[in-house]
Symmetry: C2
Subunit: 337 residues, 2 copies
C-alpha cells in the first residue's frame, strides 16, 4: 500500500484511521498528511470484510414519492448517521414481490434494515426477520421488533369529532389492501362509528395517490354521506380536489378528514387530519436496529413501541347539514356516472 511511503507499516496506517488516539500524535499527523497527498482512502469493502460489519443500514419504503415517507427517510438517515452508519434506500413501488426481492438485496449489503409500511405477508416478514436484523415501522407482526404509529386512536377521535358535529353518515376511503395502517384505520373508523351510531361505509383499496382520491368522489357523492375520512392526506387532498371541481362545498356540504398531517400538502380549506410523529418513530426504529446490530443478543426479546397521535382540527370539517340551505350544488346527484 502506497501509504507506507510514510515509512510505517500497514497496521499503523490502519490505526491512524481507526484508533488515532492509540498512536503518537506525530505519526498520526505525518501519515494523515501523506495519505491526504496521495488521495488515499480506506477501502470500504475490505474494511467491512475484516470487521464483519458494513456500517450501513437499509430502509425500504413503498413509495418514495408519497410525501409521508421523505421525513421518515430523513429521520432514519439522520439517526443512522449519528451512529456512524450510512443508509441504503430502496423503493418497492407498493409491490410485494419487488419488496421481497429488494429486502434480500438490502440484507446482503447492510447490517440491518428498517422496513417501513411493509406490504409483505406476516409469515414472510417473520421469516426474514429471523435471518437478519430487521425492525418494522407501521407494521405489527408478532415476534418482530416494531414501532407503530397509533393512527387507529386518531381515527376514533376523528369519528368522535364528526359525531359531535352531528354527522350520522360517513365513508372511509381506504388505502392499500396490504397496508397494516389501513387495516387499523378502517377498523377504528368502523368500530367507533358503530359506537356513536354513525352509518359508515368503506370504499376499498386505493393507492395513496391524488388521482385515486379524485376518482373516488362520484362514489362518495353517490353514497350521500355527509363526511369522508380518507386513509391519508394524499387521498384526502384528491377527494377535496374532486369535490371542489364539482362545486361541492367543503365543509358546508361534506366534511373531509385526512391522516398523517403531511404539511407539505397545503389544501383549501385546510384539512382536518391526524398527526403522528413519524420522524420520531423512524428514529426509534433505527435505535432499536442499531442496538440489535451492535449488541447481538439472541434472547433479547422483541420490542413493540407505539407512538401516539392527535387529531388536528382545521377547516375541512363542520356541522352536519350546514351547507344544506346553500343548495347551490346537487353535483352528487348530477354526476354520479
Amino acid at each position: 500500500m502506497v501509504a507506507e511511503a510514510s515509512g510505517v507499516s500497514t497496521s499503523t496506517v490502519s490505526r491512524v484511521f481507526s484508533h488515532p488516539h492509540r498512536l503518537k500524535p506525530s505519526t498520526v499527523a505525518r501519515v494523515t498528511q501523506v495519505a491526504e497527498e496521495l488521495g488515499y482512502v480506506p477501502h470500504h469493502s475490505a474494511r467491512a470484510l475484516s470487521l464483519g460489519r458494513m456500517g450501513t443500514i437499509g430502509v425500504l419504503v413503498p413509495d418514495i414519492a408519497n410525501p409521508f415517507f421523505p421525513p421518515v427517510i430523513r429521520a432514519v438517515q439522520a439517526r443512522a448517521g449519528q451512529g456512524g452508519f450510512s443508509t441504503l434506500l430502496a423503493d418497492t413501488d407498493e409491490d410485494p414481490a419487488r419488496e421481497l426481492e429488494l429486502l434480500s438485496t438490502l440484507a446482503q449489503r447492510t447490517d440491518g434494515v428498517v422496513l417501513v409500511s411493509s406490504r409483505l405477508p406476516e409469515e414472510t416478514v417473520r421469516e426474514r426477520a429471523g435471518r437478519h436484523p430487521l425492525v418494522l415501522v407501521n407494521r405489527d407482526v408478532d415476534d418482530v421488533t416494531r414501532v407503530l404509529i397509533d393512527t387507529g386512536s386518531g381515527m376514533r377521535d376523528a369519528v368522535d369529532h364528526l359525531a359531535d358535529l352531528g354527522h350520522r353518515t360517513l365513508v372511509y376511503v381506504a388505502g392499500p389492501e396490504a397496508s397494516w395502517s389501513n387495516g387499523e384505520r378502517r377498523r377504528a373508523v368502523l368500530e367507533q362509528s358503530a359506537r356513536r351510531g354513525i352509518e359508515a361505509t368503506v370504499l376499498p383499496s386505493h393507492r395513496p395517490e391524488h388521482e385515486d382520491g379524485r376518482r373516488a368522489v362520484p362514489e362518495i357523492l353517490a353514497s350521500g354521506a355527509g363526511a369522508v375520512i380518507a386513509f391519508d392526506d394524499v387521498l384526502a387532498q384528491g377527494v377535496l380536489a374532486g369535490l371542489v371541481e364539482r362545486g361541492v362545498d367543503v365543509p358546508g356540504r361534506v366534511s373531509v378528514v385526512g391522516c398523517d398531517d403531511i404539511h407539505a400538502v397545503r389544501t383549501v380549506p385546510p384539512l382536518t387530519t391526524i398527526r403522528g410523529d413519524s420522524a420520531t418513530a423512524a428514529a426509534r426504529a433505527v435505535e432499536l436496529l442499531l442496538e440489535a446490530v451492535e449488541h447481538p443478543d439472541p434472547d433479547a426479546g422483541v420490542v413493540r413501541e407505539v407512538v401516539p397521535t392527535t387529531l388536528v382540527v382545521r377547516s375541512s370539517t363542520a356541522r352536519s347539514g350546514l351547507g344544506a340551505e346553500q343548495g347551490d350544488n346537487r353535483a352528487g346527484d348530477l354526476d354520479l356516472r
Copy 2:
C-alpha cells in the same frame, strides 16, 4: 464454508453463483439446493473486495422532501437496477458542507455517484470528479460529465407567453443561490424580459419550500408586478396560497408561473409551468455513469447532454389587467408590512 457440505470446493460454490453455465447442470442444481437449505448467501463485501467493484452507485440530492427529487431518485434506482447495481441515497439538506461530506462517504461505498443539483463550488466538483466516477444532473461544470435540463429555454417561453398576454412587469421569485438551475432561470427571465420590453425584478434566495413562497407574497404585491415567475412549482404553490389568502385573484390580477411540473402538487388554479423530463435526465446520467464504471477509459472525454423543456399553459396565467375592474382587492397596498 458450510456449502461444501454438498461435497464440492469453494471454487465450485463460487462458480455456481457467478458463472453457472461453466458447470455441470447437476452440480449447479445440487449446490443451489444445499445453499438454499442452509440459507447461504454470498457475502457482499468479500465479493466486492475480490471483484474490486461494489455493484452500487450513489445518488446525492439536496432535499428528498422536495417533490422534484423522488421521481429522479426512482429513475436512478430503476436504471441502476437494470444494470445490476443497487443505489445508495443521501440527502444534503441543501447544505454544501454536508454535501461534500456525504459525497466523500458515498464515494467510498460506491462505484460512482450521480450528483443531482449540486450546491458545491465548481472547483470542488471538478476536483471530486477527478477522484471518482461522477456524473452531474442539473449542474453545468466544464470537464465533468453532466446532463442538464434546459429550463432556461422554458423560462424564455414563459416570458414570451406573459409578454403575449400583455404583461409589462414581472417578478422572479428566486430559488437557492447556489443552484445552477436558479442561475439559468433567473438569467433567462431577465434577458428575455429585456428583449420583450418587460420590467423584471428579482426576489432573491428562497428555499424551494411552500412557506418561503407564501412569505414572498407581500413583496410581490408591493412590487406591483402583474406576473410572477417562481423558481419552481413548490415556491409557486406557496405564492398561490399567499395570494389566495389575501384575496388576490389569480390569474385575474396576477399571473403565476412555476417550473418543473410537479404533478403531485395540484393547485387551484392549475399552474402554468415548465415541464422537463427529469426521469429521462436521471436515467441518462446513470447510463453515462455505468459506462464510465464498466469501461474505465482515461481519455474518454466528458459528455454534456441537454434535455429540452416545454411550457405547459394552464390556468394561472391570463391577460394583463383582466382582473383590474374587479377592484375587490387592493391587498398589495394594504398589507405590505
